[in-house]
């Protein structure tokens, strides 16, 4: 009796504690809105606080360079793409980040639609963007595009296939008689741009049908692009839809792979920079966005030959891409709004098909 009473008491007590906390927070959040406005007002002058950059590529290289070139303090935090977004969601009660730089403009659009991002601020350097880049700038300026790369090109095992026999279009890839594979859109950052591009190209219903058929014919999903690369090298799968970073790196390493950039275009993944609307140092965050638009910065990133992420198309004028990749490749790209709107549906559907 005593025992059950104690337990009941504990449950009640903790419920009270928890709800009290959350109610408390409601009051606080209005108060903190005001105080954060004040802080932001200070931030306009520069609060001197180091900004926190979340992202999936170039974080180690760009942080010290930015700090050295501009004098603003920055701390880079490296995540996988999905992890960075998850982290931002987990922190929504109390955001720790100031700037995010990652690929997948659909997911970032999604954040913008839900009010996470600073909007209606136009960087001065936006005019430095090429025509291709300017087309990708959203109306509300919630994010700024800086580069685009192929979230998937067709990669085949040269011991099994030749350039002639390998699939050259996405239709042929889906019709290929033998095991094929790509990365998991729920886990790997470039895989959702890949899947959403194809779904957009074919329409959602036909996209689902084609994938279902592909699952029946032999389709391996790996969590990230690294294991996809190993699988195509060791012949576990014959053909892969592989992120261009891994594809060209494997080719440069002399592995038994061939790379095909489909003529109809490769699914594109746009790398964007976006600012947290609650950033404690908006000035520094804005300087970072301006900095990323500079042709010099983008050329620096494409010159990092040790980092396979340097395979991408920089979007500012007067920039150069790496010579080893397809120079005239085109991209399949769904509009950001479409990709954001269908993100949950497509990822959920995909995860449910991919369960053995």
């Amino acid at each position: 009796m005593l025992r059950s009473k104690t337990i009941l008491f504990i449950c009640l007590f903790s419920f009270l504690v928890l709800t009290a906390c959350s109610l408390n927070e409601d009051e606080k959040s209005t108060a903190s809105d005001e105080s954060s406005k004040e802080q932001n007002a200070e931030g306009e002058k520069g609060t001197g606080e180091p900004i926190k950059l979340y992202g999936n590529d170039f974080i180690e290289e760009i942080s010290p360079k930015f700090q050295g070139d501009t004098g603003y303090e920055i701390e880079g935090v490296h995540y996988g793409g999905g992890e960075a977004l998850a982290q931002i969601e987990a922190e929504q009660g109390n955001p720790q980040w100031d700037v995010i730089m990652m690929d997948g403009h659909g997911s970032i659009r999604n954040l913008a639609d839900r009010g996470f991002l600073l909007t209606d601020w136009k960087p001065e350097n936006i005019d430095l963007l090429s025509e291709e880049g300017t087309e990708l700038v959203p109306e509300d300026n919630a994010y700024t595009p800086i580069g685009i790369h192929a979230s998937a090109v067709i990669v085949y095992n040269t011991d099994i296939l030749t350039e002639e026999t390998a699939p050259k279009t996405w239709d042929e890839f889906f019709a290929y008689d033998g095991p094929v594979g790509h990365a998991d859109p729920a886990v790997a950052a470039p895989a959702y741009p890949l899947v959403s591009s194809l779904f957009y190209k074919w329409g959602v219903e036909e996209g689902k049908e084609r994938y279902l058929k592909r699952f029946e014919d032999g389709f391996n999903i790996y969590p990230k692009n690294g294991p996809v690369t190993s699988a195509v090298i060791n012949g576990e799968i014959h053909v892969a839809a592989l992120q261009e970073h891994n594809a060209y790196q494997a080719e440069l390493d002399g592995e038994n792979v061939g790379v095909i950039w489909p003529e109809e275009g490769a699914p594109g993944s746009v790398r964007v920079v976006a600012i947290n609307k609650d950033s404690k140092n908006l000035e520094a965050a804005k300087v970072f966005v301006e900095y990323m638009l500079e042709p010099d910065t983008q050329n620096y990133l494409t010159s990092l030959e040790d980092d396979s992420s340097s395979f991408f198309t920089p979007l500012s004028k007067g920039t150069e891409m790496r010579k080893e990749r397809e120079q005239n490749g085109t991209f399949l790209l769904p509009p950001a709004e479409w990709a954001a709107e269908h993100e949950t549906e497509i990822k959920t559907w995909f995860a449910d098909q991919n369960v053995n």
Binding site: V17, S22, L23, S29, G76, G226, P227, N354, N356
Partner: protein, 583 residues
Amino acid sequence: MNRNENRLGGVVTLILFIFIFLPLLAVILNAVLPGLFFGNLEFNGFQVIFEIFERELWYVSLKNSVMLGLGAATFGTILGGLLATIRSKWDYAAARWLDIAVWVLLIAPSFIIAQGWVLFASSEGLANSVLGWSWVTSFIFQPSGLIFIMGLTKFPLAYLTVVAAMEWNVSRFEHAARLNGARPFTVWRTVQLPLSLPAYFAGWTLVFIDTIGDFGLPAALATVYRFPTLPYSIYSAINQSPVRFDMAGVLSFYLVLILALTMAILFVAIKKSKVDFLNSKAIRVTKKKPKRAWLLSIGTFAFLILCLGIPIGTSATVSFMKHLGAGIKLDNFTFKHYIDVLGGANGLDYSQLSILEGLKNSLTIAAIAAIISIILGFIVAYVLTFTKSRLKSSLHVFTLVSLAVPGVVLGIGYIFIWNQKWLEPIGLHLYGKPSLLIMAAVAGAIPYAVRVQLGTFANLSPSLLKAAAVQGASMFTKMRTIILPIVRNTLLLAVLASFGTSVFDLATASMLKPSNFVLLPLVIDEAFEFAKYGYATAATIIGGAIVVLLIIGVQYVFNFIFKKIDQLDRKEGNFVGTNLKDK
């Protein structure tokens, strides 16, 4: 019983409540009130709880978890029971090794054992590329193969419970049965089995709980084989976009529900099957020398190779190989991975700080957590055993609950609780700080710390403490002069064991790691996920070796210190402790 003891009981109850029960409650509440921890309270209704039957992935995760749990528990209990029966009946050379292996398996992180199996059995693995056994791949990567691996990894829990139950000799019943013409099997079935049934039940439940909450196996498997389980789906629900905290809450809710049910069944079973055979005639089993001891020894060694040799041996081998699939050849041999690890090479695209930094962080956190958990465990065991505190019953519930809460559930509960805005001004916004990792590690180690010490305390006579109390000894004097000297060896072992497990705690590390904070298990897991098997295994071997050396070293130093203290005590004529230990 004095006020101090009451107060102490209150403090530890509160701590356990905050460390273990509150996060659990947060997870369950969040399933129905998803905005609770983000500052917008709204009732979500209960339909989200039933969504699990509509979404294929979640439903499959639930099914997989239950199947894996039931299978591994049954297989592990049969295995553990069999080995325990042999072990407690006969005295043979390899028996000691069996005990050591059991402890190694208990402490070894499951994801490392699982990675060893993956490297052995995958299509590029050693079984296929070196031994040419292609059937291993198809045997392991299917549900019953995973049950096989899990059973081999988790059987020690069943083994230890059954061994403990077999310590007592019930031969007078067996003799009676034999005299009445029963054959050995009938004796086992009608006498030994019913008497040891509670132990089998307890063992089965422990294996089930440990398997169903296990994060290591699905995490290691994810690279090569899709086998979603509840803990892995919880982890992926919060580590991908769009993030589903509500669903992580619901899946955790189901996990907790299953565990609660299992424990309830266990309690009923133990109550129902209580047989009083431990009376004044009870004597300890004396082990016989078997006729063919060498046969038993060979059998035991073969088993040890299977359960421990394959996973660890594979990892060790792979750490010296250039390419996994290229087989064991001289031109495939390399020290490169060790040089990479020791040189802190940052060639992998996720590692920003050196792996040695991660090792240092993990060791520090594990050491602090081990000490805190052992102090807490000591106090909890003291309050439970020797006081009449009113909080005893809730304390008991918390320690039992803590045994069953998987790291993944604990991790997400900690995010909910410790990432609320209002905590920041009072300096308690712990999410994203290493102190939260320490808390989680303490919560993970407490059940073991408490269990181990409860066991030792049970052998202590309360009259000793009463005698001291009559002489006016305070609670702390009693603890310091009577209990501590007696239990210190067990205490030391418990500290070292919980230290060993928390160094490699993958589940909480992956959920609670502060930004830019490297931890050893994360480095290993990520390298594995990126298919950098050589680097992952070299890091495992180096990390494991350092932990083992530390454990041996600390044990050696403390045994030396204890000896010195005893010598000092003898000189002063104060040898309560040492005398009792001999008893």
